[in-house]
Every structure is written in structure tokens, then in C-alpha cells.
């Protein structure tokens, strides 16, 4: 079974090389990407099953034993994230293929898209599986480089501007991470996480606090925690819909994953828990207040993305098994739901010609299917019972009440307020874009062959396609199907919330105990 562990990293990388060579044959390229990501999903599911049955799986890369070589560790948290991210990336790939076909550039697509997308996947899986801090850094860099390219696809003026903000901020966070790595190595003499878990206990308290602070700073930028989140709404919405969707779903969650990992494995005890709670509260409230002010669906969703990172941070800051379990459940739920909403925004843009609330209206009458595809995840995001968003929030709030004390109660209140404001922001989108009379500038239902006008005020994506290419106002089936699949998946989380909560609970218990991870990586004891 261990032989499967490196596959989620190796397969997309090999696929990226293959698709790069096949860049002149788009059809084969598409087949390769789809196959690779399908196999990755299957492997991830197998890993999760194996991990639940037999505990963490460990592979020493190059057969160098643990503290010396680099290890890949598939524990419950990592494999759970792998499964969700593989499912999401596969759906988004199908969506982008559908969009490419509908835009008429089937024969001349951007040859760089598929390889870059696969490299991004490899970076994400590498970050999840890494059992070594430096390898985690490399995973981050892989996914970031790929994301730089995807964000500036076509290199139009708006995208270069947005890309500059994104690249410079990400570079800064990477450099902080790198500096923190140097300091960790100087203090502990190792970067293997299981080894560090033991060695860091001997490091003086103030040095540990410094290391923890620097790592959290680096991950906080990537996860878009409040004072470090301003880059996100300026950069994400300009990218093409599928790219924004996968960024929103996965990239910030990799940061959250790294925070969970370092806070539980390397720096247990929660000495910065109070500070994290304050930050979580600010992220929740400031983020959602930003969303309320927006008039563009994609930007509004970017702000809800920032805001809901606060829920996960809250769960981590509680440092109890139930809090951590709630955070893990919320991460899983949020990856799916945020991706679905951005894909939905892409469909809105295609159908309505814009994502600006000033230029939309009456979409529910014009396209009932689109309305359902947007309504369900939107209500899920706001936390309407009985959907998974509600269950995740209840889990977190319950964990907060269990801990008690002024700060957790304040956070519980902030969480409820954020949920209500999310509902308000989303309801505003619904009222303006889906109800009202159809906007006069919107493409009409009858003219099926008419290309969608892409010069609306809210439409900042400047789609990469030749003018006048055949493009129906009707929604392409290959774009609807993956969105529907993700809606069904999130509904599945609702139905299977019991087992999923049990699984996240087990993962949280393992994380807090630390021993399963450390013993799996260093079976012969800590050297």
C-alpha cells in the first residue's frame, strides 16, 4: 500500500511533462490530464481507506531513512484533504475543458494550461503529503509558481496588474517561510516534522515563540488571515472562472492545512491560541463586511472566502479535539462549496454576460438550472440547516461553547453574526442577479447562436478567445455537469455528515496525540 503514497505527487508531475510534449495535440492533452487526475482521485481514496484501516502510511523518498531523508506521510488529515482536493481539481478540469470547447478554441487552446494545471495539483498534493518542513516549502513553491502562470494567462493589462500584487505578496510569504526554515534548522538541527516535534521541546521558550510566529506569519499570508488578506480580492477575480475556482477552493486551504499541522505537531499547547482567536474574529467580521460592500459577484465571493477562513482558524485556536475536528470538517466543506460558487459565478458570467450586480437580473427566470446551481451552494455557504455549512458551523460553535471563557464566547457570537451577514450578502446577490427584471444588456434567451458580450463593467476576465467565435448563450453541458457534480458532492457531505465528522474527529484526535504520526515516521524511536 505504501507504494501508492508518492503517486498523487508523481502522477500529475509526469502528466505535466507529457502534456507539455503533447502541446500540439489538444485532444490527446485533454485525455492525458483527465486520466491523470482521475487516477489521482482513485489513489487518494485508496490511501484514505488504507489510512483509516491501518494508521499513517510513510514513504522515505530515495530510501533514506526518516530524519536524514525526506518522508512523505499520509495520515488521516492529509489523505482526507487529498481526496477532496483531487475531486475538486478533476471537476474544475472538466469545467475548463467545457469552457475551452464552448469558446471555440478547441483546436487552438492555450497549450500551457494543462501542464500548469497539473503542476499546480502536484504542488498541492506535495504540500499535503510532506513530512518535512523544507519539502512543504518546495510544495508551496510548486503550487505558487503554477498559480502565477495561471493567474496571468494571456497577460492582459488587468491580469498583469492583479498578478503583480499576488506574485509579490506570495514571494514575500515564501521568503518569510524560508527565513523561518533557516532559524528552525539553527535551533533544532532538523526539518523532519516528526523529529522536530521531539526536538523543539528542548528549544528555549522565547525562541520557540519566535519560530512559531514566523511560520504562522508565512502561512497566514497564504491562508489570507485578516491583516494579511488584502491581496486576495484584488487578484483572484481577474483570472478565468475555473482558475479562480480552484485557487479559491484549494490554495488558501493549503495555508490552513499548514497552520493545523504546525500548531498540532510542532507547537502544541496553544500558547498563541488567544492571539489566533482575536485574528479569527477579525477575519470573520472584517471579511464579511467587505463582502457586503461589493457589487461584483466574484469579488463578493472572494471576501466571503477570506471571512470563512476565520471559522477554521477559530477551530484550530480552540486546541481541543472537537474544535480541531470542526475545523477539519469545515475545511473539507469549504473547499467544495467555494469552488462550486466560483464555478457558478463563471456560469452566471457566461449566461448574463457579466458578474457585476449592476448588470444582471432575472437570471432565475432566464435559466432555472443556473439558479438551482447557485442557490444550493450559496445557502450552504451561509449555513442554512440542514446543509453541511450549517453542520460545520454548529460543530465549531459547540466546540467553542464547550471550551467556555470570554474569548470563545465572543468568537461564537462573531461566528453567528458572520453567518447572518453571509446570508445577507448572498441574498443580495440572489435578489439583484436572479430576481428583478432581466437586465436589458443581458443576452436574450432566444438567440442561441449569439456570442456572449464580454464588455460589461463587472466582467474583468477578458476571455481568451477570438472575437466572433461560435459561443452559445446556452450553458455548455461540460460546464454544467462538473458544477452539478460538486453541488451533489457537497450535498453528499450533508447526508454523510455523521461518518465525515467521525473521520475528522479521529484525525483531530490523532493530531493532538501526536504519537501516531511520530511513531509512523520514526518507528525506531527518536534518534
Amino acid at each position: 500500500m505504501n507504494v501508492l503514497v508518492p503517486l498523487p505527487v508523481v502522477l500529475p508531475l509526469a502528466g505535466a511533462a507529457l502534456t507539455l510534449m503533447l502541446s500540439r495535440r489538444p485532444r490527446v492533452q485533454r485525455t492525458v490530464s483527465l486520466t491523470v487526475l482521475s487516477i489521482t482521485l482513485a489513489v487518494s481514496v485508496a490511501l484514505l481507506a488504507a489510512c483509516v484501516a491501518r494508521g499513517p502510511l510513510v514513504v522515505a523518498v530515495g530510501d533514506w531513512p526518516a530524519p536524514v531523508g525526506i518522508v512523505l506521510v499520509a495520515d488521516k488529515l492529509a489523505t482526507l484533504m487529498l481526496v477532496v482536493s483531487a475531486a475538486v481539481t478533476l471537476c474544475v478540469l472538466v469545467y475548463s475543458i467545457g469552457q475551452g470547447m464552448a469558446d471555440g478554441n478547441e483546436e487552438t487552446p492555450l497549450s500551457i494550461y494543462h501542464p500548469t494545471y497539473l503542476v499546480l495539483t502536484a504542488g498541492v498534493t506535495n504540500a499535503f503529503l510532506s513530512g518535512d518542513l523544507f519539502n512543504l516549502y518546495v510544495g508551496f513553491e510548486i503550487l505558487l509558481v503554477a498559480s502565477y502562470v495561471l493567474l496571468t494567462l494571456g497577460s492582459t493589462e488587468t491580469r498583469i496588474r492583479a498578478g503583480t500584487t499576488y506574485v509579490v505578496v506570495s514571494l514575500l510569504s515564501s521568503l518569510i517561510f524560508l527565513t523561518a526554515l533557516g532559524l528552525v534548522y539553527a535551533a533544532a538541527g532538523t526539518l523532519n516534522m516528526a523529529h522536530l516535534a521531539d526536538r523543539l521541546d528542548a528549544v528555549p521558550d522565547n525562541v520557540r515563540l519566535l519560530l512559531e510566529g514566523m511560520l504562522l506569519l508565512a502561512f497566514g499570508i497564504k491562508a489570507a488571515v485578516f491583516p494579511l488578506s488584502a491581496w486576495l480580492p484584488d487578484s483572484y477575480p481577474t483570472a478565468p472562472a475555473p482558475v479562480t475556482a480552484v485557487f479559491a477552493g484549494l490554495l488558501t486551504k493549503v495555508g490552513v492545512y499548514a497552520i493545523i499541522r504546525t500548531e498540532t505537531l510542532l507547537f502544541p499547547g496553544g500558547r498563541v491560541a488567544d492571539a489566533m482567536m482575536v485574528l479569527a474574529l477579525l477575519t470573520l467580521v472584517v471579511g464579511i463586511l467587505g463582502a457586503v460592500a461589493q457589487s461584483d459577484i466574484k469579488r463578493l465571493l472572494s471576501f466571503t472566502l477570506i471571512s470563512h477562513i476565520g471559522y477554521m482558524l477559530f477551530g484550530v485556536a480552540l486546541t481541543t479535539a472537537s474544535g480541531l475536528s470542526g475545523a477539519i470538517f469545515y475545511v473539507v466543506h469549504h473547499i467544495t462549496i467555494q469552488t462550486t460558487l466560483f464555478l457558478g459565478a463563471g456560469l452566471v458570467e457566461r449566461r448574463g454576460g457579466s458578474t457585476s450586480l449592476d448588470r444582471l437580473g432575472g437570471l432565475a427566470r432566464v435559466s432555472p438550472l443556473l439558479a438551482v446551481l447557485f442557490f444550493l451552494p450559496a445557502m450552504n455557504l451561509a449555513g442554512i440547516p440542514p446543509l453541511s455549512g450549517f453542520l460545520g458551523k454548529v460543530g465549531l460553535l459547540q466546540a467553542g461553547v464547550d471550551v467556555g471563557g470570554p474569548l470563545p464566547y465572543l468568537l461564537v457570537a462573531g461566528g453567528v453574526l458572520t453567518s447572518l451577514l453571509t446570508l445577507y450578502a448572498i441574498a443580495r446577490v440572489w435578489n439583484l442577479a436572479f430576481w428583478r427584471e432581466p437586465h436589458p444588456e443581458m443576452p436574450h434567451a432566444g438567440d442561441g447562436g449569439e456570442p456572449v458580450r464580454v464588455d460589461g463593467a463587472g466582467n474583468r476576465t477578458a476571455q481568451v478567445r477570438e472575437p466572433g467565435a461560435p459561443s452559445g448563450v446556452m450553458l455548455p453541458r461540460l460546464m454544467v455537469a462538473p458544477t452539478l457534480a460538486l453541488v451533489v458532492l457537497s450535498a453528499g457531505f450533508t447526508v454523510a455528515a455523521g461518518p465525515l465528522f467521525a473521520l475528522s474527529g479521529q484525525a483531530a484526535t490523532d493530531l493532538l496525540a501526536r504519537t501516531p504520526y511520530v511513531e509512523a515516521v520514526l518507528p525506531e524511536g527518536v534518534p
Partner: protein, 157 residues
């Protein structure tokens, strides 16, 4: 390398210069800042290891070997920083090509929302579309795509 004052000062200067360059609006200066910060971080990692002879079994007694791990990490980090620098330079060039300079502008949507907040008027306002768009100044999407850039703004080529 055991900590010594010269290294510490050099790292400090590199970091300080890098951060101050990073705060500039011109992308070329940001690139310089990233290079300095990257080199500072690499030097810091080098300081984290122990100094000594080449870490090859047979040539150096084990106790006198230098720590090879930080060096391996620095090599990786150098390659990554190199790639990033190349990408940033390409972006700076592209930006110069498109708008004639490489300075990072304020976000257009931000300005739009600020302007709207000043007029205290939302998209929910009854007469949407009309005056609202008239005084908005440059519309984010009427900004020219590369092919449609007005010749006056083009400096390159």
C-alpha cells in the same frame, strides 16, 4: 557556520535593503528587493549549519565535516528564487510593454467602490445604470486589451 558578527550584519543589511525595495511601486525595484531578501535568507540558512571540511566520507574525519544539509537547501532555494526573479522580470517587461511603465497601480474595482461609497449610492439604487456610470471615471473593463492599446501609451517597440 558558527554565528559570527560579520555574517549577522550582512544578513541584516540584505534584509533591510530588500524590505525597503519591496515597498516600492516599481516592479524592477521589487525584483531587486526579492533578490536581496533571497540572498539574505540563503546566508541565514548557511549560518544555521556547522562549518568544516567537505562532507565526503574518506576525505574528512566525521567530526570535522561541514553540515551538508543547509547547503543542499540553499541550492534548492537559489533555483527557486532564480525562477521567481525571471518570472517577475518577464512581468515587469510585459507591464512596461502594455502601459509604458512597470508601476503597480491601485486596483480599479477598489477605486470604483470607494467612489460609490463617497456618493453613498449602491447598485440597489432605483435608477441603476444611468448617472452612476457616467461619473465613474475610467471603467475597469473599458481598459484596453493589449491589442487595442492606444498608440500614445505605448512606449515599447
Amino acid at each position: 557556520m558558527s554565528p559570527n558578527l560579520v555574517y549577522a550584519v550582512v544578513v541584516g543589511v540584505l534584509f533591510a535593503a530588500g524590505v525597503s525595495l519591496l515597498l516600492e511601486r516599481s516592479l524592477t525595484r521589487v525584483v531587486m528587493g526579492v533578490i536581496m531578501l533571497g540572498n539574505g535568507a540563503n546566508l541565514l540558512i548557511l549560518m544555521a549549519g556547522t562549518a568544516g571540511g567537505p562532507p565526503i566520507v574518506g576525505t574528512t574525519p566525521e567530526a570535522e565535516m561541514s553540515d551538508p544539509l543547509p547547503q543542499a537547501m540553499i541550492l534548492t532555494a537559489i533555483v527557486i528564487t532564480f525562477g521567481m526573479t525571471a518570472f517577475l522580470l518577464a512581468m515587469a517587461y510585459r507591464s512596461w510593454h502594455l502601459v509604458g511603465h512597470d508601476e503597480v497601480q491601485d486596483d480599479v474595482e477598489d477605486r470604483r467602490i470607494m467612489a460609490r461609497a463617497e456618493r453613498d449610492e449602491g447598485p440597489d439604487a432605483a435608477d441603476r445604470g444611468g448617472p452612476e456610470e457616467a461619473d465613474e471615471g475610467p471603467d475597469p473593463d473599458s481598459e484596453p486589451l493589449p491589442t487595442g492599446a492606444p498608440p500614445a501609451r505605448r512606449v515599447g517597440r
